[in-house]
Symmetry: C2
Subunit: 187 residues, 2 copies
DNA sequence: GTCTATAAGCGGATAGAC
DNA sequence: GTCTATCCGCTTATAGAC
């Protein structure tokens, strides 16, 4: 792996573990086994490197989500597959965690990939729910976009509960709870 | 307000805005209009002051939640009141955001009030859902603890979605989505 | 209790040699 | 492209005067 590549990968790891504010260029350089000069040669600075890292993580996450949402099965099964997909729960969401980073939120450029990724997933799930409504699997009274927001929020909030308690159990409980609601056919 | 009080309040504000990693003693002192000496006289250091601040915020949050969950109405209405309660959505949850802070999660002492608060709210809602099951308002097939996890996760994740998009709309959508599922009586 | 002084190291970056 | 040197301000304290 070449130097810019190692820098981006190290930054991705550190952003995931410690967030933007908690990640220093020095820590990145150590992990990438690169020198100061290399970093400032390939990138304008910390925000520029972080942007490259965030964009890549966003792209990867979108691909992973699409891989699950595009799978076979009924609309319910595809949403279920998204919710139950294997996750490193205690590490949290590498994209969602950035929303708690004041410097990321303060920068339109850094926030953009975060917003786009979460918006895209919500839109994708909303479409699947609408499909399910047409097929009669979901009640016509449901709103696709609202259900999608609840689904994605349950995942993002599940990470919060899991990290608070130091165990993935709460994440799994939330997912099961939401699925039990989604599965009950309305009268 | 006396000095220790001002220090705690300033720390609470900064932890909410910038998290633990993003909050420096210097910033606290400036906001509290206190000197270095005062802070180290009243507190052992940053972690000690942060602990006092987190404990107070946790206590306050629990009281606020209890105020809503203890209110009048059916179980559904009380859960709805919790979900719809007025919130400064774009500021995020002052307790939940701490779970994304590496130094908070790394410290059992700092994490404890976070865990206890979220656990307590989940337990409280779980009880209300079980009440609703007894009264036939909720399906007997639902699990109180799982629904509670989904409810709290939707709130916590709603903050993430809202902050990502820079608008409270996604938070509200998630809440409405969950409520629509909760309201549909199963066949 | 509060103030000022002092300190070792980090954060984020620039400059110029190689 | 990468390295070392250098920079200034911040971080997180400690020490001791008042």
């Amino acid at each position: 792996m070449n130097t810019p590549e190692r820098l981006i990968e190290s930054t991705r790891e550190l952003l995931w573990e410690r967030g933007y504010v908690g990640t220093s260029p020095k820590a990145i350089l150590e992990r990438a086994d690169a020198g100061q000069g290399s970093m400032y040669h390939h990138f304008k600075g910390k925000p520029d490197l972080a942007l490259a890292a965030i964009r890549r993580t966003a792209e990867e996450m979108r691909a992973t989500a699409e891989g699950v949402l595009d799978g076979p099965g009924t609309p319910y099964e595809r949403v279920e597959a998204y919710l139950r997909r294997e996750r490193d729960v205690l590490r949290g969401c590498p994209i969602g965690r950035l929303t708690m980073d004041p410097d990321v939120i303060a920068s339109d450029e850094l926030r953009a990939p975060v917003e786009e990724t979460l918006d895209w997933i919500r839109g994708r799930i909303a479409g699947i729910v609408e499909e399910g409504k047409e097929q009669g699997q979901f009640s016509a009274s449901l709103d696709g976009a609202e259900i999608a927001a609840a689904v994605v929020a349950t995942v993002q909030g599940g990470y919060v509960l899991a990290r608070a308690s130091g165990s993935p159990a709460a994440f799994d409980a939330g997912v099961r709870g939401l699925l039990s609601l989604l599965a009950s056919r309305p009268a």
